[in-house]
Amino acid sequence: MYRYDEFDAAIVADRVAEFRAQVERRLSGQLTEDEFKPLRLQNGVYLQLHAYMLRIAIPYGTLSSHQLRRLAEIAERYDRGYGHFTTRQNLQFNWPSLVDVPEILEKLAEVEMHCIQTSGNCIRNVTADHFAGVAADEVEDPRPTAELVRQWSTFHPEFAFLPRKFKIAVTGSPQDRAATMVHDIGLVIRRHPDTGEIGYRISVGGGLGRTPMIGRVIRDFLPKRELLAYLEAVLRVYNAEGRRDNKYKARIKILVHETGLEEFRALVEAEYARLDGPSVDVGDQERARIAAYFAPAALQARPQAQAVLDRAAARDAGLAAFVANNLFPHRVEGHAAVTVSLKPIGAPPGDATADQMRAVADLADRYSQGEIRVSHEQNLILPHVALDDVPALYAALGKAGLASANAGLITDIIACPGLDYCALATARSIPIAQAIAERFADPARQAQIGAVGLKISGCINACGHHHVGGIGILGLEKNGIENYQITLGGDPGLDASIGERLGPGVAAEEVPDVVEALIALYLTERQSPAERFTDVVRRKGVAFFKPALTQTQREPSDAAA
């Protein structure tokens, strides 16, 4: 894992002291709310529906056990004993008092964490494949790139007040698990087809929200050493040309769309030619220094481990399901990355209690080199587990209420906090996720259905990534009642697609019925279990699924939520 150097430590400590003074000035009345709001947002402090919310950056979703224990401590001491992991691989506390935030930031700084650039119109927390350094098909570990981008973008003076927020994701694998195509910039590490040199394919202008768009490839191959200068050129063009007159048209996707890819590319290339690249880029030595922090885990191949696990799984159906769904093959024989599902049936997706955080931290120390990942799917990952340790790990997770064997299945639902917490939300997300999960709770039925990718957002801002859900659910308000639009066929991978609306929205209580009818149609139509829900939507079209809506809609109800 990356460790702070003296510069990192100093800038974080300085920021804590600065924000402490700002909070004091706010509380004493020297700063008005209008003056204070941009300052608190730059430190991750939002005012939500019931309370302040603090968003903590987890760069590229990588946590140490030490850091996770500190998050547990903060949850208990300053919040209400739990936290919420988000689709940007961050953690949110829902109940901190403003007066406590400076102290929380101090506690975070002690474990090399902060809340810087988790809000505001700046470059946000860089996200990456949660199986980085594990996946066998990886061209290169994306974390050194993500860390380099983090260092470049943190407090970048030119990009502190962009037209709108800016999100960058990195993957090193051809199986894009970081949703790069729906980011402002997506970086895919690849080899040059002729020379074999490692570099980047760069997409620009992807995004969700009220105007969902798939990113466009602006550079098919960029040499690795040129990354920061090229990013600087893209950001400069956006900073200069992006709209500032209308926040709904201010993201780079709108600029790329309105300018046209070719012209936008020409602007970027002209800027790139003008700027002094070597003064922005870092040399081989610095890249090697950063990469050294992400050296492959010191694991020995364990050729016998698979057989040990197989024997244990043969005796325990629960373990067998856990192995089938929650294990991802590790590049080192006899190991796996284990998904710790934060989606137990009936619980809010992505929530973990302080006790659960401590349990995962302890298990990471015992079984996974002290390392934890946060996935954008709102789960935790133990990336380096020996297969013969999985039975003991599974048992320990069970004691902590964390052994749900549903990773990637229909009950592994992404959901934003929605109107239960969020001041921007137009409808609730969590109860919808809970109701669907309860409807599909039967493990055998989940296994039969397979991967669906069900994602729920409580407003058009799409924090729950509903546009790229095989089944996407968007909560809106209609005539004073929560109402849910359903989209089908979204996909966050390299072959990304935006879901298409099924039809008119439905009432909250109808959503599980509609999902059930959709799944019934899918199961009838799919040619094999390998054909995913989105594959069937692509093959048959959304019209094929429309009966799911008409068959399940009830008479209009006057039951207000």
């Binding site: 004493s28 709310e33 302040y52 007066v99 809010p348 239960d420 609730r428």
Partner: protein, 103 residues
């Protein structure tokens, strides 16, 4: 000349406490309380305008943030906002460890 906005009545004044962020209600005693049952209810346009003025003054005094009037159902006590967003705001989340299952 445009007519002044009509406030839907009856209405109460909601805000978040500056220091804690907690949802608070303007009370009959010219203070703020977390207890909805203590909320001052504006039954007339004049009373509602006064509450609006108090909202601005309280924000300027740095007592609260995000203060605004909320219309409530008639004849229901403690007050029940007409819109589901504000009902949720005053009752708390409907899901999670601190769920409030009823409104």
């Amino acid at each position: 000349m445009s007519k002044p906005d009509t406030i839907i009545l009856p209405a109460i004044l909601l805000a978040n406490d500056l220091r804690s962020g907690a949802v608070v209600f303007r009370t009959k005693a010219d203070g703020w309380s977390r207890d909805a049952a203590l909320a001052l209810v504006a039954e007339t346009q004049e009373a509602a305008e006064r509450l609006k003025g108090e909202a601005l003054a309280a924000v300027n005094r740095n007592e609260v943030v995000d203060a605004y009037l909320v219309d409530i159902a008639e004849g229901v006590w403690p007050p029940r906002p007409n819109h589901f967003r504000e009902r949720r705001k005053i009752t708390g989340p409907s899901a999670g460890p601190h769920a409030v299952l009823t409104e």
